[in-house]
Symmetry: C2
Subunit: 152 residues, 2 copies
Amino acid sequence: MQVGTHTHTIDEMLRAMAQQGWRITEQRRSLATLFAESGSYLSPKDVYEYMKVKYPGVSFDTVYRNLRLLSEMGVLEQFHLADGLKFKASCLSHHHHHMICISCEKTVTFEFCPMKLVKDLPESFEIQSHRFEIFGYCSDCKSGISQPSELH
Amino acid sequence: MQVGTHTHTIDEMLRAMAQQGWRITEQRRSLATLFAESGSYLSPKDVYEYMKVKYPGVSFDTVYRNLRLLSEMGVLEQFHLADGLKFKASCLSHHHHHMICISCEKTVTFEFCPMKLVKDLPESFEIQSHRFEIFGYCSDCKSGISQPSELH
DNA sequence: CTAGATGCAAAGACTTTGCATAAGA
DNA sequence: TCTTATGCAAAGTCTTTGCATCTAG
């Protein structure tokens, strides 16, 4: 579960799909619901397991197709955590960064952006984007109960 | 080719292996040479292709095994770029960050570290590590000659 | 010598593709 | 309706494993 606010409601996600001319199918509605409600990092398998409950006939390739489509349109973001590829609802509301628990993957947003202060950068580089993430243990995991997985 | 300095010479890498009780085989020497000389991001396939030249019998699994071992001992670092998993000689000399060209993957180091200035972070999080990378176009790619690949 | 490393082959995990059918708009 | 999305099956890609052989120390 994410601590910041959920930046995408289900409706926002569905609206985004419709605007780009995509159909709102049962499966996609289900996908949007999952990501809007969970707010956490989900693997294709997680997503598949979840959707199978409501749509027993759902297939893995549909999950993959929709995850990729939603990523391409910016509704979801992809991450490579230590345990593989994961997806999360993107935070489009405003620019910010994340602290991620390396044990439970709980994510907390914060406003500080290093690009405002960065200096002495190599010249002649046309900056397009950046990544800044802080990894550590959240209060629940600090005690070391669960085996920390190695994020990079 | 990397712009900063090569932080691992072949000897440093071999010494590190020996210190951890590993054997210096022909293939590992070859691997060390490749990463020390190239300084860039290499996929398992790149590595395999390179090693095959000198050791025609080399197998893919040996490449994978050694890449993983070298990563675990910190001689190499893993990255998930847009075109998949890549390895690079780690920069152990001192702490710094990278600017990476999203077209050619050329990498430039810089000294600024956001952790020195970060503030207003959420409480009760035990910080372990961080990532900070800037993506953009290097001077050679700025003109837009090559199709930019999408790093995340 | 002898534990550790390699090469081969095979299996495994994950992801994508082709095509007929089903279902949004 | 009629175009897009789905489910199925199959193939593809990337990575790991088991085991007999080889080799660095």
